[in-house]
Every structure is written in C-alpha cells, then in structure tokens.
C-alpha cells in the first residue's frame, strides 16, 4: 500500500472544492451525480459566488444534494425546479440561480415548466442529468429511455408502439429563442469532466451578463438502475446513450 506520503516539495494539485461539505454522498457507487455535484461546486468556488448563488435541488436521486453543496438551496417539488428557480431569479435578479433535474423530473412531469422557462429566456442555468431512467424510484422508464432498454416498467424493453421514441428534449428547447447556450456533456471520462466544467463556468458568466437561459445536459450513468457495475455502465453509456444523445454544443451564442 503506497497510500501515505509525507514528502516535502509536493504541491496540492487537486482536492475537493471547499464549497462541498464533508457529508458522505448517498449516491450509489460510481454514480455520475456525485461528479456533477462536485463540478458545480468547483465552479462556484472558483468564481467566488458562494454568497450570491441559490441552487434548486430536484426530486430524484440528487434530492439530497443540498447536504453536499455548501450554498443556499431550495428543494423543488418533482418536475418544478425550473419554475422554482424562475421564482427565485425574478425577485433576485442579482443572484446566480441554477436548477438541477433528472430526466424524469425535467422531461416527464416537468416538461411544461422546462419549455416555458427556456422560452421566457429566464436568466438561469438549467442542469439536466439524463441517465435514461428514474434512478430514485427504483429504475422505471424515463422519457429518454432508449428503444429496447429494459427498465422496471419496460421489462421487455421500451417499445415505440407503447411509449414512443426517446424524447430529445435538449434539441427541442434549443429551438426556443430564449435558449442562449445549449450544450451536452458527460462525466464518464476525465476529459469529459473537464469539458463539462468549462460549460458550467461559461454558463455562470453568461448569467452574469443576463444573456438568457443556459442549458446543460449531462449524459450520466445509473449503475443501480441499469443493473450494471459502474465500469460496465460507463461502457454502456458510451455505446448506447451517446450515439443517441451526441455530446457537444447544440446552440452557441453568435458572436457580435
């Protein structure tokens, strides 16, 4: 075991952000939520906006993220995070506001709030964690579940006939005029983590400039819901989810 090291001349190059509390996370081993939670806090740390930020937590596996994020937070009812965030931002235009939602939350029960928040161009950051399943409630089908994907409510695989095609809500909202910056990322590789962090940084900067809605989709895993090991889940994600939901910018600000 080479774990202890008490040598001089070593610089600290990475540690968990100070705005992340010491509370152990309740997420399953290997779950992407943890990485995303951490990245948001890294950015808030670096931008020194801890005292100006209000986060809106979802109902979903990240429902307790307020335990980990050392900022003021509001837990929203299922699907309503963007409406809650709108409420906060409208009466506090000088604050940084972000919402955080799963695919069930944002793209099923909260579809209406999602569309209208973006359409109004609410000046907030919306984070959309797409793991193609309802993690929290035990692995039911989500709007983003792939055709043929087995879940507890599509035990024979999602069928087009019964449930329609997977909903690409991010493409959809990118068509709305209120959407300023729309991009899709993942956290399954170190480099994808780096890119996501940049996107979050940019989004907060745009928010400062009152640009409108920034929307970041993160393709994430759900080892528990998919019934896979964390490693296997990341492979499956790369082979199945990313082809359907390709990574990269979907709408970028036109320079002028």
């Amino acid at each position: 075991m080479i774990n202890k090291c008490e040598i001089e001349d070593l610089e600290l190059v990475y540690e968990k952000p100070k705005t992340l509390t010491d509370t152990p996370m309740h997420y399953c081993p290997g779950c992407g939520h943890g990485v995303i939670n951490k990245l948001i806090m890294e950015v808030i740390d670096e931008l020194k906006i801890q005292d100006k930020t209000v986060g809106v937590a979802p109902v979903g596996c990240a429902v307790f993220e307020y335990r980990y994020m050392d900022i003021d937070m509001i837990e929203a009812p299922h699907g309503r995070a963007s409406a809650v965030a709108t409420g906060v931002k409208r009466v506090n235009p000088d604050k940084y506001v972000f919402s955080y939602q799963g695919d069930g939350d944002l793209a099923a029960i909260g579809t209406s709030e999602t569309i209208h928040t973006v359409n109004r161009g609410e000046n907030i950051l919306m984070l959309f964690i797409n793991n193609a399943i309802y993690g929290m409630t035990g692995g039911q089908m989500a709007p983003t579940t792939l055709i043929g994907q087995k879940t507890s409510t599509s035990p024979f695989g999602r069928s087009v006939k019964n449930n329609g095609f997977p909903l690409n809500i991010t493409e959809l909202i990118s068509k709305l005029d209120g959407a300023f910056y729309v991009t899709r990322h993942s956290v399954h590789k170190p480099n994808s983590v780096r890119k996501l962090k940049k996107a979050i940084q940019k989004s907060f900067e745009y928010q400062k400039e009152n640009k409108g809605t920034c929307f970041i989709e993160v393709i994430s895993n759900c080892p528990a819901g998919w019934g896979m090991t964390p490693l296997k889940s990341n492979e499956w994600l790369e082979e199945n989810l990313i082809p359907k939901y390709p990574l990269g910018d979907i709408k970028v600000p036109t320079k002028n």
Partner: protein, 361 residues
C-alpha cells in the same frame, strides 16, 4: 401592523381592490394564471405594478405559478398568487410543500361553483380544501374570508402579516361575487406593513453562517415527525389570532353562523327576521382557520338553535357541529354550484326553526 389609510374613497371591484392593496402591501412579486372570476387581479397588476417595485409574471399554469411563489418566498421575498377553484386544486401539491417548508406567502382563491369545470358564479364549496388541507399531509393554511370590497383590500395586509408572523401561507378565500362587485373602499397606504429579508431565506449563503436550505423531505421519519410537531405547535399558537364578527347576539334565540358573501346575505335575512319578531344573532367567522370555536361554543350554550348557511352542500357546518358538540341543534341551509340563497329563503329557514323549537319547548 400599523395601518394607515388613504383619505380617498374609491369605487372598485373586489379583485381590483385586492390587487391595489397588494401593491400597497409592497409585494415583491405576483405569479399567476388567468381564470374567471379573478383574472382582474393579474390584469390590474400587469397594468399598475411598477417594474421597479417588483415582478408580475403570467405563468404558464397554476402549477408553475405556485412553484414560482415557492421559490420566491423561499428566497425571503413577499410574494403572492391568486386563482379560482380548479386552479386551486392544481396548486395543492405546491401548497403542501410551501407549508412544510414554512414559507410565508399570500394565496387568493376567488372561488366558483364546482365540482369539475363548474360555473363561474360564487361558491364556498372550497371550505374543506382551504381549512383542512386539500393537499397531502397534516398542514393548515391561515384562512381569511372577506365579505366586502373593503375587506378584500384590508385582508391582503392581515394575511401577509399573519403569514410572515407564523411562517405559514395565508389564504384569502373569497368568491366570484366579492371579486366582481364594486363597492366603496378606502385603501391602506404603503408602509403599513414593514418588510425585511428573513434570516432563514435562501438568498445566498452569508459568510461564516450556516447555509439556508428550504426543504420538505427527510429520509428518517423521526425528522419528519419533528417537523410535523413544529407545525402543530404553530397551529396551536395560531388560535390566538382568531377573528369573527358578532351582530345582535344578546338575547338571540337563533344564531346564524355564516362567512363571506353568505354572511352578507344572512345579515339581510337577520334584519327581516328581527323585524318580524324573531330574535336572531349572527356570528361571522372572519378567520376560517383558526376557527372561532370558543365563541361558538359559548353561544351554543345560550341560543336555542344554530343555523349555518353556506354556498355549499355543508362544509363549515361540520366545524360548527364539532364545537357545539350537542349543546344545541345545528341546522343547515346551503346552495350549490354557483347558486346563491335569497334573504327570503334564509328567513324562511329561520321561521321553520323557530316553529320546530316552539313545538319542542
């Protein structure tokens, strides 16, 4: 609260008076969705609320509206929404959350005939929903029932005051007639209701302080039970805020209990009855929650009978019976679905009761 009033007497619709009062109560935001018979509130604010003073946002639905209220109230701002019966039903999940999170805010239900899409005429059939928690879980709203345009304005201040004092949403339960009719009103002045951003608000973490989290969930039911105990203690305290109006209760043989619009109609019937030699008193609950139980109980010991009149199939009458607890007979007269009783009709009920009681005595 130190209410100052405008010297001007105006003629206004109930909805407009309420909206103007909201401006004068210095709300920071209104979020709502149109529905008859209360759309004038949003319309009035859209026209008359200055952008610098706050935000007026037409939400895409009642659900979005109540959740915007939840967010804005959670950040410590003074905010409100208004709707009518079907819209209120849609807000109940959000209201349950707001109550659990102990956030003050102002809710307004200018109610109409139901169930279903119903009619747009006045109704009081949302009494249960308002006073016993239509949403899930053990929560209560502070409920104020105006019966005039003046009270439509005044109760905005009272409701916000109580909501902020107890960190609990307060509901003004009105109806289509009170919302649509014009009466004389003197409006409270700005500054009557001081405001400040509360300590607990989620508005950006203050250095070296605990962060503020607005939440309503727990993994451990013990934690949730403790929240519930806190709520129940608060509701117990709230009983001290009970308000009601009495008229001619000395020597009354029959007591009418009615609130809001039906109390207005009953007061006419009361006049007719007393002119005709009956002796009828009237108790009008102003706060429906807390309910004026003690007073009703005391009066029940003195009167021969109680008549409850509601624009419903009989809802508040249950609360009256609960407190009367058999001390005297409790009768009920109600109209439903948007219909309204006439004073004659109520007078007739009063006579029937007197006759019955006479037979008994």
């Amino acid at each position: 609260m130190n209410m100052k009033y405008d010297n001007n007497v105006k003629l206004m619709k109930g909805n407009e008076a309420l909206a103007e009062a909201a401006i004068r109560a210095e709300i920071d935001g209104y979020f709502g969705y149109p529905i008859t018979p209360q759309s004038e509130i949003l319309e009035y604010l859209s026209k008359n609320f200055n952008e610098e003073d706050g935000v007026v946002l037409q939400a895409e639905s009642e659900i979005a509206a109540i959740n915007m209220v939840y967010g804005a109230a959670g950040s410590g701002k003074r905010v409100m929404t208004s709707t009518s019966s079907p819209g209120m039903s849609l807000m109940l999940e959000g209201i349950s959350y707001i109550t659990a999170a102990q956030l003050p805010c102002l809710l307004v239900n200018v109610s109409r005939g139901g169930p279903g899409l119903g009619t747009i005429q006045p109704s009081q059939a949302d009494y249960f929903q308002s006073t016993k928690g239509g949403g899930h879980g053990d929560y209560r709203l502070i409920v104020l029932a105006p019966n005039s345009v003046q009270e439509m304005a005044d109760f905005v201040f009272d409701a916000i005051y109580l909501a902020e004092k107890y960190r609990n949403p307060a509901l003004i339960l009105s109806d289509g007639t009170l919302g649509q009719m014009m009466e004389k009103v003197r409006l409270p002045e700005k500054g009557s209701l001081p405001k400040s951003i509360p300590e607990w608000a989620a508005k950006g973490k203050i250095k070296n302080k605990e962060r503020n989290i607005i939440y309503t969930s727990a993994v451990d039911p013990t934690v949730m039970e403790n929240l519930n105990k806190e709520l129940q203690n608060k509701y117990a305290l709230l009983q001290q805020e009970v308000r009601y109006e009495l008229s001619q209760i000395e020597d009354a043989e029959i007591l009418i209990v009615a609130f809001g619009l039906s109390a207005r109609i009953c007061s006419k019937a009361q006049e007719m009855a007393n002119d005709n030699g009956l002796s009828v008193g009237l108790l009008r609950p102003i706060t429906l929650y807390p309910f004026p139980s003690d007073t009703i109980y005391k009066l029940a010991q003195k009167v021969q009978a109680i008549l409850v009149v509601e624009l419903s199939a009989g809802q508040m009458v249950e609360d009256v019976k609960l407190v009367v607890n058999g001390s005297c007979p409790v009768f009920f007269h109600g109209r439903m679905g948007g219909e309204v009783p006439t004073p004659d009709e109520i007078f007739f009920e009063l006579k029937k009761i007197t006759d019955k009681q006479a037979v008994k005595n």
